[in-house]
Symmetry: C2
Subunit: 465 residues, 2 copies
């Protein structure tokens, strides 16, 4: 689905029409900054993105705008608090993006955005710069036309979401007082299969780790030494293979201990979602959908924990052959977590399990790369209801309430540290290649998003009046 969003009333729609080029140009400028938080060499780019974004907030007439240090990539904060008596909304997004390799699979350079067929192609075009650009555009339109917002608003944009939000919790704890609000919108979500408007009611958590296996002091001749010593790659493969059974069940001792069982109602709600398994399989171009026995594909994707190796390397990977036993082998592993799994506990279980099964001829080390808790969204909260109404008014149909397999650590942190009910929303197209080559954003979703957010602010204010 990609329908034309319903226009706003009079002056607001006129402002949006008159500023469309400027708005698109700002969004593309934002996309040109390679703010990859997971790669240390891009730290300066992350800071540049933060400073660019702070400038954009000032330009949009937000107040008390600040680039705030975290010990890592900075947080960008801005607010508008002049709606006396109206509710206060905290809106979160992240300005950092995923790495771009494999670069040769991109149709265009990832940080030189191009527009094709109503889509913007660039790293971050969806995740999550689209949701930030939409929020700032909605605020700008309201302040330029009415000179005021219908609600009080606090904008919080993070720079480490794609690298496990390592420094965010401490920053939230230190700034909890000024983040006080009636509701939090985590604007890092998107639409459902078929590009149907959706609100995410469950987010998986994450636990990220690296496994390092070390054997001989350096690469050695596989003829001279083969048979006499453990091979670090063979050993690593054995370790990885032992983490998950052929039934898709994770074999780490204690891994499932804290998983809250899905209720029959929740299973029924997931089963009721429109979902074409064969279209999904064909879209990914895999020979078969496979996963943990006893669960449907949507349950596996959204409501069950997982273990995936995100990268592996060791030895010789050039053309031709090199007959060595490598000195070491390495893998990056992430688990997606569901309520009530705790990332720190899962890491310790993973670490203990790997060390227990490590073969005797190698040295094995397991290092944490951070984590985030799983979370769920209150469907009956006024902010969730107002957002659902705004989506329906804008896109012509009520939203689906879906579980999302991805992880937004901040959702759990806002709930636990700042004490806020959290609504996860956003406008990314479901097949927008987030974290992959050729990420893209649907421009109809982008324009609709601005109008839906304006309606949300108005609706929330009206509902509380």
């Amino acid at each position: 689905m990609s329908t034309t969003p319903a226009p706003l009333a009079g002056e607001l729609e006129a402002q949006l029409a008159a500023t469309a080029d400027r708005r698109l140009a700002r969004y593309l400028d934002f996309l040109r900054i390679p703010s990859i938080s997971g790669i240390p060499g891009h730290a300066a780019d992350c800071r540049r993105a933060a400073e660019w974004l702070a400038g954009d907030l000032v330009d949009a007439r937000l107040e008390h705008v600040e680039v705030s240090e975290t010990g890592g990539h900075p947080v960008v904060y801005g607010e508008w608090l002049r709606a006396a008596g109206a509710p206060t909304v905290l809106l979160y997004g992240h300005y950092d993006v995923q790495p771009v390799d494999p670069l040769d699979e991109w149709e265009a350079a990832p940080f030189e955005p191009v527009i094709r067929g109503g889509r913007v192609l660039a790293r971050g075009a969806s995740d999550d710069k689209s949701n930030i650009a939409i929020a700032v555009a909605a605020v700008r339109a309201l302040l330029e036309t009415r000179g005021a917002l219908p609600v009080n608003l606090k904008l919080l944009f993070e720079g480490e979401e794609e690298s496990s939000s390592v420094h965010l919790d401490a920053w939230l704890a230190a700034n909890a007082a000024r983040l006080a609000a009636d509701a939090a919108l985590v604007a890092d979500g998107g639409f459902f299969e078929g590009n149907l408007p959706a609100i995410t009611v469950g987010l998986r958590g994450i636990c990220a780790a690296e496994i390092h296996v070390r054997g001989p002091f350096q690469d050695v001749h596989s003829g001279s030494h083969g048979g006499a010593i453990d091979n670090p790659i063979n050993a690593l493969a054995g370790i990885i293979a032992a983490l998950k059974g052929p039934d898709g069940r994770i074999r780490i001792d204690g891994f499932y201990d804290d998983v809250v069982p899905l209720s029959e109602a929740e299973r029924a709600a997931l089963a009721a979602l429109p979902f074409d398994e064969e279209a999904y399989r064909a879209g990914l171009q895999v020979p078969a959908l496979v996963g943990e026995a006893g669960w449907t594909t949507l349950e596996r994707r959204g409501a069950r924990p997982t273990l995936d190796v995100n990268g592996i390397w060791g030895g010789f990977s050039g053309e031709g052959s090199k007959t060595i036993i490598p000195g070491s082998a390495h893998a990056k592993v992430t688990c997606r977590l569901v309520a009530d799994q705790d990332p720190a506990r899962v890491f310790e279980l993973l670490r203990a399990h790997v060390l227990r099964i490590a073969p005797p001829g190698v040295r094995v080390e397991v290092v944490s790369l951070g984590g985030g808790r799983p979370t769920t969204t209150p469907i009956d909260h006024p902010a969730t209801r107002a957002f659902a109404a705004a989506l329906e008014a804008t896109f012509g149909r009520p939203p689906l309430f879906a579980r999302e397999g991805g992880s937004v650590p901040v959702a759990a942190s806002l709930a636990s540290i700042v004490g806020l009910p959290v609504t996860v929303m956003g406008f990314m197209p479901p097949n927008g290649n987030f974290h992959a080559p050729n990420e893209w954003m649907d421009l109809a979703n982008f324009e609709g998003g601005i109008r839906a957010l304006v309606r949300f602010f108005d609706g929330l204010a009206a509902g509380s009046a």
Copy 2:
């Protein structure tokens, strides 16, 4: 052990002393050519090494010197056939070398040889440019002093030994007539642990393959899709883990069918070799020596087949984290083979086994990277006996007869295609880091090698007179 080799008689030793600088300079020039046969980008370097070597043979007064096309890297051939009535020896070596990565572990640039403490440090310093330089120096010394060799000699230097000698067998078959000889020396061997003179009586064969595992059409978000599809890295790890049991035994159906059992005499001979297990383990810096149950370390290294992964890659391997399911994962695998395993049959067994155990959610392909047959050496052949005597006269002790875990495909090919008895010999130090960073050659072995070869030629001629 690194003793001063026994000098030759009068004029020959004087020639060798007078030409030491020139000899070393030529050897270092040879080492400066990065003739890495396994990397296509080095094809021109391989040809340059062949042409340099042909020039060296002409300079040493070899006759009918030729750079002969093979379809891959060329063969260098030269001969001296004026010893009427004397035996004819075919001497083989290879001018190609292994790749050099990981480059950052080298103490000096691999193709800028340096001399430190009696060692030459460079890629190929041992394997196998040392043995070639030794052979040419011995021939040059004889022809410069006596104007003749005591035997007829055919020199055959290959450029694809480190990449499975893909084109050599066809070249040998096409040139079998002019390669006729009484014995073949395969000069691609070395000394035993402790730098003790040795003759290799068994060489393992090799079977090289790549495994490619493909999943979704590109890297995809591990949150959105994790749990619903097979992960190519997890799948590849499972395949590799299933190729070998925790007992070190290879689980490929039929893999051991053609393995000739070691006789009690062979096991006793291996057990009698001087070998310090703890020093070997400490030298490699591994926590334990491990391998196939039921066999000693020397048996595992020399007389049993192996399976090692030489390289693995897939997904994200940069710093930090990237939460993807990769589109593909890849591994390079080699098996070392023993008599009478056939590399083509082993590849088919490996391929069939991998395809049989491949999980349903990925596409798996197994590609051959070539192979070579295992071989054994006749201990009682006149050439072997003459070489043993030459080693004893030069280095002061009789050689050990050892099994070598490495593979020299040409040994089996010379035996089967040209019909020659093959003696595998050479002067590389046993811990010379072949195929690894910081490869080196012992200059005492180098100088001793020249004198041993002169004695071998004289001894073989005298023995047949």
